[in-house]
């Protein structure tokens, strides 16, 4: 286990409100990722980070932003939540050169009403 925690674990919010999900890791891994999992889609990459303040977009980045001010924390923000962003969000980390095994957190279930 890479010592990854996510907060909150569950959240219900209303359409149009901003939401921030937090990922915290204790393994000093350089690379961190945010995925969403939806029925019929598997896991899809939203954003990733390859170092402090270094981030890039993934496959489904529209409507999301990220920040990484410390190695251990990676924040995912929904600027104005929509019902299509109802999903389970997973954070992951990897060490070494970045590619290879990724270790996942327990997930955050977000419901946008």
């Amino acid at each position: 286990d890479a010592g990854i925690t996510q907060s909150p674990r569950h959240k219900v919010t209303e359409t149009g409100t901003p939401v921030t999900l937090r990922c915290h890791q204790t393994e000093n891994h350089r690379y961190m990722y945010w995925y969403r999992q939806d029925p019929g889609h598997g896991l899809r990459l939203i954003h990733y980070s390859y170092g402090v303040k270094d981030t890039d977009k993934g496959e489904v980045s529209d409507g999301y932003s990220v920040s990484r001010s410390k190695t251990e924390d990676f924040l995912l923000t929904l600027e104005s939540a929509t019902s299509s962003q109802t999903s389970v969000y997973f954070c992951a980390t990897s060490g070494g050169q970045g590619w290879g095994e990724q270790y996942f957190g327990p997930g955050t279930r977000l419901t946008v009403t």
């Binding site: 896991l43 496959e59 990724q102």
Partner: protein, 113 residues
């Protein structure tokens, strides 16, 4: 466009028998393949991986086979145990083009006593 495909949404196997989970990919740039196991309400857990320079990798009861010419890989679990019941995700990446894992939609394995 799904680059990693798991065409069987579910599989049921008797305890003690072999479970074979299949995965196909379309991107010839993929050079590293991974299998993840996921229980409900938990994050995916890394199971086994294989590099494109190999055609087989074994770890205890789990073996992954890679057929590059067919762009196909499979995960064999022998013998299957009830605790293996979970969703299995196949994932692939290209070490030259970045860090993102491309996931299949998953196969739900049920091992019956």
């Amino acid at each position: 466009d799904q680059q990693v495909k798991q065409n069987s949404p579910s599989l049921s196997v008797q305890e003690g028998r072999i479970s074979i989970l299949n995965c196909d990919y379309t991107n010839s740039m993929f050079d590293y393949f991974l299998w993840y196991k996921k229980y409900p309400a938990e994050g995916p857990t890394f199971l086994i991986s294989i590099s494109s320079i190999k055609d087989k990798n074994e770890d205890g009861r789990f073996t992954v086979f890679l057929n590059k010419s067919a762009k196909h890989l499979s995960l064999h679990i022998v013998p299957s145990q009830p605790g293996d019941s979970a969703v299995y995700f196949c994932a692939a990446l290209s070490s030259r083009s970045g860090y993102a894992l491309n996931f299949g939609k998953g196969t739900s394995l049920l091992v019956t006593p």
